[in-house]
Amino acid sequence: MLLNILNLKMYFPIKKGIFGRVVGYVKAVDDITFSVNLNEVYSLVGESGSGKSTVARCILKLYEPTSGRILFEGRDVTYARGRELLEYRMKIQAVFQNPYLSLNPRMRIIDIVAEPILEHMDVDKADAYRIALELLEKVGLSDELTRRYPSSLSGGQAQRVAIARAIALKPKLVVLDEPTSALDVSLQAQILNLLEDLYNEYRMSYLLISHDLSVVRYISDRVGVMYLGKLVEESYTENLFENPLHPYTQALISAVPEPDATRSKLSKRIVLPGEPPSAISPPSGCRLNPRCPHAMDICRREEPPIIEIEKGHTVSCWLYTKA
């Protein structure tokens, strides 16, 4: 196993007044455990407020988690500092949602890609720039673009630059935080294909953070579904899409509008009423209970345990506890 996330919690304190008294917590991520294997694409899906991006930021060490542990290649990196942190950083990279905002607008494309190489690899300047050029060519950017600034690139091109930068150090794991959601479908397809090619060539792992189920279904090996800071279901991709167990997963999958003239008339859509409640005071028991069509008494009282239904398919729902 490459990455293990054990009982990860990330609570953001809410401060009030001039002395910054803590009056409550936003429980963005509340006790999550999962793992990413070597050479695997693992996706975390969920809607806004589910905490999926917060998990990613904890793994990228942009946040320090409230509690829980992050193991990478068996080593505990939760509180890594200095040399240890740097070694971890070189093995784990990221591609962010907004390609323009994730590139420094005052640096040329070639400098952006060469930066991590110059920083960490033992090469001279000429070599670093040669490697950067090769990377840019690999992600499909023509030579003339490399001397330009990010603002003169299209969204798809800018995302290619971000990808080139992410793979520059040949990382073991790349965190893809909504890598295509700012792009049009035709460009999205280009980027997804590029990511797949790189995945095959470099034999790395991806952790994809996304709200787009069609992208998740296309690229992932395994999927974890998040709702309000909890992992509610986890399974192999096809299994999850063919046989979703958790009421939230079922609603999520059925809500995706598909360009299929026949579909919308045939299958009944499950529409969850209302909106996700606030993560400051989540509902007691199962967090979905106020919106769930199957809510029972126990759902309001107690948090459901995580149950393994079949090999690799777990769900956290009271509907599946008996039997």
Binding site: V185, V215, A251, A261
Partner: protein, 326 residues
């Protein structure tokens, strides 16, 4: 059955003046919309779809210029009206619009109630506060907002994106318009909330016999809500027809490719098709078909002459040289 045409847009051309040159965003688009019909304008960014929506309600930004064409709403020539007549007679009362980001539409200093009362007073002339309040509450009930009495006293930032979009729809519909333009109304929402809003729009369309222009980049959303689809690319019409026809029998190479781009299964099953290249530079004149540089069937004629519009089926039009009468 002959149906009345409520909106007809004829050969519309719109330019944007920017520091980097003149962007020809809309290059001759014609639209006919019948009463009670819902038409989806589908296109990727840069297709000019939102520009057409804004032009219909005369809300284009200052640097946009309509260079040619006409927009007729029930025989009213929208482009010839004065700004005052436009506000008094058309906006809100006849044509309303809902945008992608409702938060940007509302003044953050006013409560939902104050915004609603203002619209109700100006458009319907209901000055009596209690009557207007009642009317407003009913509008909020119409868009299925839970607890309307609480929502009325909330400020925009206290509401979630989905609730705010419901408020925006209530505001847009409060003066009983006949035509609603929905410009990517669910793009910023989560899928489960998007499903709610789409259901709401479909219900309202039937109940209020609204005509609707729905602008979106998402063919899936288009399939859900509309009976007709128009596919736009680089400011030109590529294909138009009934939703079933477009989805099951796409004719234009671009429409076909666009449908194939949407991932539907796992990567192990089949590799994703994609459209190579990018949108042409909209600042330069495009002599032939704008899709020619990215199309797999491009021939000489595609690069030189813009394709005319061919009728390939019942109300199914396509603008592509491939369908030239043999």
């Amino acid at each position: 059955m002959v149906r009345d045409i409520i909106l007809s847009i004829n050969d519309l051309h719109i330019d944007y003046y920017t520091p980097d040159g003149v962007i020809r965003a809309v290059r001759g688009v014609s639209i006919e919309l019948c009463k009670g019909e819902s038409l989806c304008i589908v296109g990727e960014s840069g297709s000019g779809k939102s520009t057409i929506g804004l032009a219909t309600i005369r809300a284009l930004p200052q640097n946009a210029v309509i260079t040619r064409g006409a927009i007729l709403y029930n025989d009213i020539d929208i482009l010839k009206l004065s700004e005052e007549e436009m506000s008094k007679r058309v906006r809100g009362k006849e044509i309303s619009i809902v945008f992608q980001d409702p938060a940007a539409m509302f003044n953050p200093l006013f409560t939902v109630g104050e915004i609603l009362l203002d619209v109700i007073a100006t458009h319907l002339g209901i000055r009596d506060r209690r009557k207007a309040y009642e009317y407003g509450i009913n509008m909020l009930k119409l868009v299925e907002l839970p607890d309307p009495e609480r929502v009325v006293n909330s400020y925009p930032h206290e509401l979630s994106g989905g609730m705010l979009q419901r408020v925006a729809i209530a505001v847009a519909l409060s003066a009983n318009p006949k035509l609603l333009i929905a410009d990517e109304p669910t793009t910023m929402l989560d899928v489960t909330i998007q499903a709610q809003i789409l259901d709401l729009l479909k219900r309202l369309r039937n109940e209020l016999s609204l005509s609707m222009i729905f602008i979106t980049h998402n063919l899936g959303v288009a399939a859900e809500v509309c009976n007709r689809i128009m596919v736009l690319y680089a400011g030109t019409l590529f294909e138009e027809g009934y939703t079933e026809d477009i989805l099951t029998n796409p004719i234009h190479p671009y429409t076909r490719r666009l449908l194939e781009c949407i991932p539907r299964a796992g990567r192990r099953v089949s590799r994703l098709k994609f459209i190579p290249g990018t949108l042409p530079d909209l600042r330069t004149p495009i002599p032939g078909c704008p899709f020619a540089p990215r199309c797999e069937y491009t021939t000489d004629i595609c690069r030189k002459t813009p394709p005319p519009i061919y009728e390939v089926g019942y109300k199914h039009k396509v603008s592509c040289h491939l369908y030239q009468k043999r």
